[in-house]
Symmetry: D2
Subunit: 288 residues, 4 copies
Amino acid sequence: MANALKEKIAAGRLVTVMSAHNPLSARLAEEAGFDGIWASGFELSAAYGVPDASLLSMTQHLDMTRAICEQVAAPVVADLDTGYGNAINVGHVVGAYARAGAAAVVIEDKTFPKDTSLLAGGRQELVRVGEFEGKIEAAVAAGKDRSVLVIARTEALIADLGLDEALRRGRAYAEAGADLILIHSKKKTPDEIVAFTERWDGTVPLVIVPTAYPALTEAKVRTLGKIAIVIYANHAVRAAVTAMRKVFAEIRRDGGIDKVDKEIASVEDIFDLQRVGAMKAAEKKYLR
Amino acid sequence: MANALKEKIAAGRLVTVMSAHNPLSARLAEEAGFDGIWASGFELSAAYGVPDASLLSMTQHLDMTRAICEQVAAPVVADLDTGYGNAINVGHVVGAYARAGAAAVVIEDKTFPKDTSLLAGGRQELVRVGEFEGKIEAAVAAGKDRSVLVIARTEALIADLGLDEALRRGRAYAEAGADLILIHSKKKTPDEIVAFTERWDGTVPLVIVPTAYPALTEAKVRTLGKIAIVIYANHAVRAAVTAMRKVFAEIRRDGGIDKVDKEIASVEDIFDLQRVGAMKAAEKKYLR
Amino acid sequence: MANALKEKIAAGRLVTVMSAHNPLSARLAEEAGFDGIWASGFELSAAYGVPDASLLSMTQHLDMTRAICEQVAAPVVADLDTGYGNAINVGHVVGAYARAGAAAVVIEDKTFPKDTSLLAGGRQELVRVGEFEGKIEAAVAAGKDRSVLVIARTEALIADLGLDEALRRGRAYAEAGADLILIHSKKKTPDEIVAFTERWDGTVPLVIVPTAYPALTEAKVRTLGKIAIVIYANHAVRAAVTAMRKVFAEIRRDGGIDKVDKEIASVEDIFDLQRVGAMKAAEKKYLR
Amino acid sequence: MANALKEKIAAGRLVTVMSAHNPLSARLAEEAGFDGIWASGFELSAAYGVPDASLLSMTQHLDMTRAICEQVAAPVVADLDTGYGNAINVGHVVGAYARAGAAAVVIEDKTFPKDTSLLAGGRQELVRVGEFEGKIEAAVAAGKDRSVLVIARTEALIADLGLDEALRRGRAYAEAGADLILIHSKKKTPDEIVAFTERWDGTVPLVIVPTAYPALTEAKVRTLGKIAIVIYANHAVRAAVTAMRKVFAEIRRDGGIDKVDKEIASVEDIFDLQRVGAMKAAEKKYLR
């Protein structure tokens, strides 16, 4: 089975992936030209109004991921958090995401239930390397039939364990079969990630999530080499929140929608995003 | 069982209701000071990337409505479209929305499957008055135990049937037990709604959705009297789309997130919306 | 894409399909040697304790069908009732069932919401032939990529419209692209179905559901020819109800489970059906 | 808010609770006269064809529990396994089950992901007492508004930790606020449970699940005192499996359904269980 993400990575160009919390945001990301979609646990948790701390169930995330896969052609990278349990859960879950159409899955080496990575004072505890290797192997086995890429995410830097431990884990996970290593950092500057990348001697490419260190542009990432994918992991929901807050406040202040009506996407714009035109064409063909 | 929406209406102040497509947008609407939340079929369809034409299942909308009810204190008005079938379906469905926590339900007098109301060239066909009266009665019976308000929505003006037919239907629906009548119009000016309101002599108050005629401000609505609720039915998703489009384009153009990072809500803002603080307090109390 | 059901039909042997209301009953049917699984709307409605009258949502049935497809190798025939709306809904829905793994879909020519076919005094009204042809064409188009068979079910005999109308509809549906025609009858003897089959001159094979006329054995069906599939449409749930009633009553009467314990499947039997052995093997491999 | 289960326990009569895997089995249990329904994780896992090892998601179990609560008047005892994570998850989850209508929740002191209790060679590891006390407190707090009973289940005997540890845990959990203590045993005779009960000096009553030791009848349980609830935890699915296997084999052997048709519940019986009569009455009232 072909895997569009694998092909994009193989082409050697830096792959950019934008987060989504529903098919609509995914479609907008695809329209904007991003190479792939990040079916983000953080964004979906935010959309549901709950902390990103293993509170949403696997099914809630899986259903949204499936809905996204159905509405975009771009490859979808599914955020599986810690894999919803042990290696057995990982195998069960990766099979389900593969059938839902995910091109890649990311599992991280934290304990369950996780806490979100960038939270000051969050609980950040890692599982043993051996345990996580088993999870990677189970994920690889479960995704093989559909050529799902397995991205192993180490939170060693998030847990303040240092570069050496991060590298050690990254190498072990690559050995265990991970197709890419996601190295996460909460530092406000790119230095830590740059240092990791420079020292990275593993056999597989890297993935980064520059939320905390936005100064690391794609141009700079390209000069570093070794990094195959950049994930912008929360910008859809952050943009949406900003706008809804502003527009809601304006409506309250104006006592009406007359002014905001010209500032926001029209109802017809939304119709287009809903593919109403295709439905009308189908109605002509099939409704009698 | 108390019903916060009923109390607000009884208080005599114009009730403003903002649309939402997930608990996050609902929470932002509540924060902004809106009196209630519109669990909008149009917004949810848009969020799923499909036309608002009875394609989402009842369960998909019910699950999202329940999730919204769980995350806001503001009363939630559930958009049931045509009620997912006949009067039997309506009874089944209204019971489910009542248990999910909805304060009110809206059912419209179009045939199933519906087409969205403001679409130029959309299919707009109404069921017989007698059939819809039966649906209203079934809804009232199903919602009674939990004091759910039943709002009957007539699409007579949307279907170009004229003011007289709209008034006739409104009166019949009020007679059948509807607590409020939602009168919908696709005209670009408020004239039609103003005319309807002036001629309205039914026994129950009105609800309007001024999407097409945004010039009708709350101040003007108050002078008209008779209108108890204004629903802003699609402004959450339209605001979100506008912002995501803009931010995505900027990131593509800049080749990175450095610039947009200062323009959008911070990750910490999102944590607050997720009530991370309450979780951290609970962790102190319960994690040992 | 291969379709195991198509291959079985092509092989010329009468295909027997057993109903299921969950993956467990499907697995037992597969174990017993049935060729395929009927993801039955009637059984699922019964499992949920509600009438088979379009009360369960599409999502509820789709989720169960997907779960069944994940747990059996046998091809699954999905019961889509009337297709959940018009031809547009049918296209939407068939796409979803195809992705869920269904080998075939059945849509029937009744109006929505349907009433169950064998209910004395049930509402049985058919849509126009032209309307249903559009639905078939939409189904065929939506299922093509995954080689889903489209089975058109006519309820002409259920609605007391006579053999001629049933034949006329069957032919029209085959012309519109249906891969098979399901002819349903509520008669207590096979005569009506036999007569229909003998007169059938359509280009595609037939499917029957002998619930009402159990005397029509597979041996007799084979002698009739033209019939490719026999669906036993409700025997899983009927068997389960019978047994649960009996066992529950025994436990109440005995004031305990000592006696029934030897009469019912052991806990270890259930473990085997849950594939606990495979999990234990995976644990050995992946848990460290 | 009243709690029917609490009232039954207070009445002093031994409360018998039967397992269910869907609303239909729950309805049959209610009909048979059981006092309550066990929304069993084991039965639901079996119904989905997967091991009872934290593979089903919380949402899958919650949705089924809600569906059961909607179809029976009898109080429903929800099987939450280990609570789907830590105390924060427990609080989140118990709130959801309370809103779904559960009268009681059971959480057990095993680590996540759990393994089923009666499996020879299963993984049986317990969390620290302090950790579990926090979970109980979080459950109690989350269920208080709706008067949900919190049943703490200790697996100390399942994990071969001995009577003393079981008693120590039981007492600690009662101190932490549990309304009842479920003591589970895998012994083939009642001796261990009898010994535990005789030594039990905690402040709250006990719950037992005599799957492994069926010889302990209700009459004997009553003589022991201290035990308020007996849960028959898997007999619905075991009865159903036995019957489906038998009936499926008969149909295969007979090459038809003629013979089994007289041995199993009729289609009309199923209509009654689906409450078709009530729907027909509602149709008369509301369909015009």
